[in-house]
Symmetry: C2
Subunit: 267 residues, 2 copies
């Protein structure tokens, strides 16, 4: 096999399993090549990814070392994406009344969610998360893509305790969006204590459900090391959680004049 | 930029957006290269992917033509994967009683779901699906990965009609697993009539919820062009739907002797 083919295959394998560490030997065996050649292949693969603004291939030394792909999107690509995302969000047909917007088509568009996930993955890659946590339902595809890109298992909090979850722990929390007490449950088997989770969700208004996820994780001694949401509402200004990252901010839904004010955040 | 780098970047861009058609001009502009050089690059990229059993790059002629990446996994890789998947499923700690098994850790493992999705994507790539449809919750990560790989939008049927879904259509269906009537709803905005959907779910026993998805889609004149489930129970033999593809078959859960009989299907 020629170098061009080997480098392409290395890029394909590493970027298919972002964050996963492959010992150098894996590629030596795959191509039946010496370590020195494979190292050179990896150097070229890394340089290509960096030149294209597509993240990089990290070399980890030591006994458990190897190489892994760290995804990224360049600032210009994400800016263009978020501008288009906001343009779509400004469509007055999305207005549902009661300050709700229809966003499922965007949240279930995998190319969009993959781009957004690349941004969050790059931002939180060093946060030390052991899990990606979300609550059903609309944020699951985004959380899935972030989990995929960071090579981490997903935790999904359920609204109802299901028999297929085994023993569960449940909490009640106040949802400002729905103006009522809601329930959230998590399987006791879902997490290991003394770990960390990155919360990912599609939308945040007052931060009630994010706080709920954080509270239920705390019951299992799981710390929250970051919160990433696609869309955050500017109001209420005071959220139930202090720190979060949002891709775009929803400033206002003027139902009478059918104007949706939403802007990308500076990244 | 050298050919090796260009080919790697082509592989990265195409395989990041499986199924998406890029006009040749896109790469000519990106690299500032002539069409003939880019065509040669793509030929090499395709040959590398085929040699590695990682799918192929398809050239589509005509005014709307271009190139796109079609994912695949080789038979040996998927066989190995399914054998390991079954080994994990055979762990007696999964037994929850009432014939239920705990499987969330597997269904929320993105590397596993990505591999499984590659298999389903390759199998159903020519089925003519316009959507990937599922019902909340546990099958969503798998459905997300299949939607990502086939470059199709996702449809998620909800258990409850949510205000953020706008007008919804609801149906009742009988779930054999839960031995009761359940409800399923879908937003009227979620689909365009006279289209086709591929159903993806984590588990099938009698096929009740799959039939439910199919019934609700029928209300919108959306035909089902295939059904793919990770795990199908061997019993009941007579399912509510006639055709489906499952990756593994669950033959028996012997709670007394703590033996789970599950086998990969021949692919």
């Amino acid at each position: 096999m020629k170098r061009t083919e080997r480098v392409s295959i290395i890029v394909k394998i590493l970027s298919d399993t972002p964050g996963k560490i492959y010992p150098l030997r894996y590629f030596c065996d795959l191509f039946d090549m010496a370590k020195s050649s494979v190292s050179e292949d990896i150097k070229i693969a890394n340089s290509a990814m960096e030149k294209a603004g597509k993240g990089n291939i990290e070399t980890i030394s030591g006994a458990r070392g190897g190489v892994r792909y760290i995804p990224s999107v360049d600032a210009k690509e994400i800016s263009n994406f978020l501008e288009k995302f906001c343009q779509k969000l400004r469509d007055p047909d999305r207005i549902l009344g009661g300050n709700f917007l229809y966003t499922s088509d965007l949240m279930f568009d995998m190319e969009a969610m993959n781009t957004l996930a690349s941004y969050f993955a790059a931002k939180f890659k060093d946060a030390g998360a052991n899990y990606i946590a979300t609550v059903e339902t609309k944020g699951i595809p985004l959380a899935t893509m972030v989990a995929y890109q960071l090579h981490l298992p997903l935790i999904i909090c359920r609204r109802e305790a299901k028999v297929s979850e085994g023993s569960t722990l449940s909490i009640n929390y106040f949802s400002g969006s729905y103006d009522r007490i809601q329930k959230m449950s998590l399987s006791k088997r879902a997490v290991t204590p003394n770990t960390k989770a990155l919360i990912v969700d599609d939308f945040m208004r007052g931060g009630g459900s994010t706080k709920g996820i954080s509270d239920i994780l705390a019951e299992f001694n799981v710390d929250v090391c970051g919160t990433a949401v696609a869309i955050a509402s500017a109001l209420p200004e005071k959220k139930k959680i202090s720190e979060f990252t949002s891709a775009v901010t929803l400033y206002d839904v003027d139902e009478e004049n059918k104007i949706i004010k939403v802007e990308p955040n500076i990244i």
